[in-house]
Amino acid sequence: MSVDSDLEPLLALDDIQGNILGGFNKDHQGMLALKMPDSMPIPQAKQWLSTLAPEITALRPVHMFRQGRRHALQTEGIERLDMASIWKAIAFSYPALTRLTVDSNQFTSASFRGGLAQSSQMLGDPVTEGTAGSPSTWIVGGERNAADVFCIIASDNPDLVRQELQRLTDSARTAGFEVVYCEIGHDLSFYDGNDERKGHEQFGFKDGISQPAVRGRVDEVTFFADRTEPVPDDPSEPTYALPGQALVAVGSFVLGYAKQNPSFGSLPDLPDPLAPAPNAVAPSWARNGSFLVFRRLNQDVPAFNRFVSTQAAALALSATPAERLAALFVGRWKSGAPLARVPAADDPNLGRCAPANNAFLYNSCLAARDGFQDSTPDFSGNQCPIVAHIRKVNPRDLPTDQGGANETLPHRILRRGIPFGPPLRDGALEDRGREPRGLLFLSYQRSIEDGFEFLANRWMNSPTKPQLLLGIGEGFDMLVGSNPQDADRQRSCIMPATGAGNRLPTKGLHSSDWVYPSGGGYFFAPSLTALRDVIAK
């Protein structure tokens, strides 16, 4: 096999953390946020970290586990769960790295250096102190409770996560860390044993379907990601791994590798330079590391359900109106079936079937040859609205304010989130329990500014981007976007599929956003080498 080693590098399977490129994808994941008090002696912190370092999971076991599980599924027809395994990931804030290393000032990212709370306004969060969603109300990541060290503990066995989280919490406290936040996120099927909820988020939608396929090889002849699609003759065209799933350079997610080229879909771009190169964006030891964004997002499920049922009635949508309107907001039916393929009604079989549930484009035809109805060109958003969440954050082959489809690829991120809190019954309009619920959003990227912040600030929170069909704009991402420009934060959108010009204001129905942050942080997830030989040393 002849491959471009810049474009398809051999991945450092034993150095890159497993959650970055592989994704733990476990049903139970504990989050632990620690603060290093000013008085804490650095050697003490390093001592604890050096003990933890060998426990951090590399990419190889995660990749091998996934291959093994799939093999078992194909050959034995069973989904084998490795109940005993515990996987761990770790990441550090900028202030922590400046205390633990001598050269972390070589990180140039203003957002990473400033932290999530500093970017909160730009991300569209409420800014008035005391208002839900503003950093002053966060349970982690605010001015007084920012995390320095962030750990993820994942397993298919919830008891193992609990035990391990307790052990780590105790040892961290003993070492002198302050525990600012500790929480376990569970797959929603955990709460009532309902497998229909598996992989779904709190509003009821199947989540995490569309992830970029990462370029690179695990050995001389084997690509990291599964590929079935042909490589186009023209290097300026995007390349797909599976139908609808674009390949993205590993350097878009991990430092030290060729980045995704914003002009040529299947050519490498220069990697971000690391020290001692001129214009370095990070110290040399940042190679094989990645920036981690954590956002604890509360979801007000009854408010969302009330809105869609009220508005759907007002719009006189046919057949299951609330369900349909909610699907228009998301771009998928709750099963995960994309509107681009089945605009009229949900098809749970399609929703369950990967990769068919991701095999669609918006601007051109895609013959998926998988037995389901193919997507057809939908530039004007008649099938999947222009404001639909999945179209806002990943406009696929559409031209955008950034340019062509290639320009979208450098902004892709690897999402690793998991829900928190017990779910309500489907369509619930009230919540008597008042127990918080939402999503522990996690994403890895090579640049916080070009990844997570770009998607939130430039696209989700913009009524006119990424695609402006009419001069006034089609509106906001009604699912998770926000409108910080207006004092009342009112969001609205146009739903062409419900009749031309139908605008859906949120005002009067719900005075605040139904998704709002309650914590988070910006971190850097180092390579295992850097963790052992630089940070913990």
Partner: protein
């Protein structure tokens, strides 16, 4: 509406009504001058004049948008808006390399000597700016314009009116003579080509309007970059209405679309996006055009990216961002300023523009602000366009071997030279800081369909 209106429907000509007709004629000629030939044969694009629509149906509107910060700088200075902005804030003399690593021909006097006073702004996304600074170099005000030079050439047909307009904009007396050439000169316009495909030689006589006059350069009265013209907008939209193919396969996406027949600059945000949106409409069997009034517009500024000196968010950016010339409904802005109102204080101390922050960096350069601005134009579509014959691509996008994300339109029969990323990184490691930007970007190729 049977005449072309001034951009944004400006009412400047109410004082000189005859200029409305002059402007209409200028625009009508731009639209009627669009000719397309393939192998010597006229081909019919789906492009029409907004004054003569092919049907009475209500046209749909599409609005291509783009960022005001030159995209080429994001390739040359990735992740570093400050460095990119610093290189283009001040005007560049024609004939010298600009901040975007491009050289336009110099203006030549009657003896063939270059004229160093002829300058333009290397800001090529149809948005230009000029920064007013105090004696210490701190930014006091950023003036932004997207007014086409054609409009101001129309105004210049009445020298007294031109002088009045300049004075109204800059706020101080402007000697009329400063606005006109005081010697003959010539300039070869690489952005335009004659019937034979050669660059156009533009002669200027004593008394002709000088679009690059010092007042325009200092106060950003209208666009100066050679590619920032309304004519370019019309040409681009018209050319994008064609059906392009390569080896008979449709070419629908960028960068291949913009490169195909050199219908725009592929390394910009603006041209490829305009081309793609217009082409999408045309390929869906629509007739397409630009909405009257035809113009390039500043659509919005992202206020959520601005902060006070202590990093606290600026809730209402309209306190500092002021549209100065716009349509009556405010939807089409052609001139604006970012400034702090006189006498404003913050935490008890006088507040200066240079103390405000954008993305948590103090505002130093206009380019930072351009990065928070969304530009756009308005295209229209009417259904029912007949199928077009295909235009086969002459050019394809190739990467610059030194800058793998910079596009060089290349003859379709010439193989691209692949970038050698690893080797280049090694080479960069051995060079001085800023080396990436000092590497030469290959010349831009531009082919115009006539």
């Amino acid at each position: 509406m049977n005449t072309f209106l001034p951009p944004a429907g400006l009412r400047d000509f109410d004082a000189r009504p005859a200029l409305y007709q002059t402007w209409h004629t200028t625009m009508a000629e731009l639209f009627s001058g669009v000719k397309f030939t393939d192998a010597g044969q006229d081909i019919r694009p789906a492009f029409y004049s907004p004054l003569t629509p092919p049907s009475r149906a209500n046209p749909a509107t599409a609005t291509p948008t783009w960022n005001g910060y030159p995209k080429i700088l994001t390739e040359l200075y990735p992740g570093n808006v400050l460095t990119g902005s610093a290189g283009i804030d001040e005007p560049t003399t024609f004939g010298t390399r600009d901040g975007e690593r491009v050289t336009f021909r110099p203006f030549l006097d009657a003896h063939g000597k270059p004229l160093p006073t002829q300058q333009y702004r290397a800001q090529d996304e149809y948005l230009e700016w000029a920064v007013q600074r105090d004696s210490g170099g701190k930014a006091l005000e950023i003036l932004l314009t997207c007014e086409g030079p054609e409009y101001w050439s129309t105004i210049a047909s009445d020298p007294n009116f031109l002088q009045q307009m300049y004075q109204a904009i800059v706020g101080i007396p402007v000697p009329q003579a400063d606005l006109f050439f005081n010697q003959t000169c010539t300039w070869v316009d690489l952005n335009s080509s004659d019937a034979n495909g050669n660059p156009v030689n533009r002669p200027f006589a004593v008394g002709d309007y000088n679009p690059y006059n010092s007042w325009n350069l200092k106060f950003a009265v209208h666009l100066t970059h050679p590619a920032n013209q309304l004519g370019a907008e019309v040409n681009l939209a018209a050319a994008a209405s064609l059906r392009f193919t390569r080896q008979k396969a449709p070419v629908l996406t960028n960068p291949a679309l913009t490169c195909c027949q050199g219908i725009g600059e592929p390394n910009r945000s603006s041209d490829p996006n305009i081309a793609a949106q217009v082409n999408s409409l045309a390929m869906a069997s629509n007739f397409v055009t630009l909405r009257n009034p035809v113009g390039l517009y500043l659509l919005s500024i992202d206020g959520s990216r601005f902060q006070y000196p202590d990093g606290k968010p600026i809730i209402d950016i309209t306190r500092y961002f002021q549209p100065l010339r716009q349509s009556s409904d405010g939807s089409m802005i052609v001139r604006a300023a970012l400034r702090v109102p006189a006498g404003e204080t913050y935490n008890g101390r006088p507040l200066l523009l240079s103390q405000l922050q954008l993305d948590h960096q103090p505002i130093q350069f206009g380019g930072q602000v351009a990065a928070a601005i969304t530009m756009g134009l308005f295209a229209q579509a009417l259904p029912g366009a007949p199928a077009q014959s295909a235009t086969e691509c002459a050019l394809k996008p190739c990467p610059d071997p030194n800058f793998p994300s910079v596009i060089i339109p290349t003859d379709v029969n010439t193989p691209c030279r692949a970038p050698h990323t690893a080797a280049l990184v090694d080479a960069l490691a051995d060079t001085a800081p800023g080396a990436r930007a000092s590497l030469t970007m290959k010349g831009r190729t531009r082919v115009r369909i006539r």
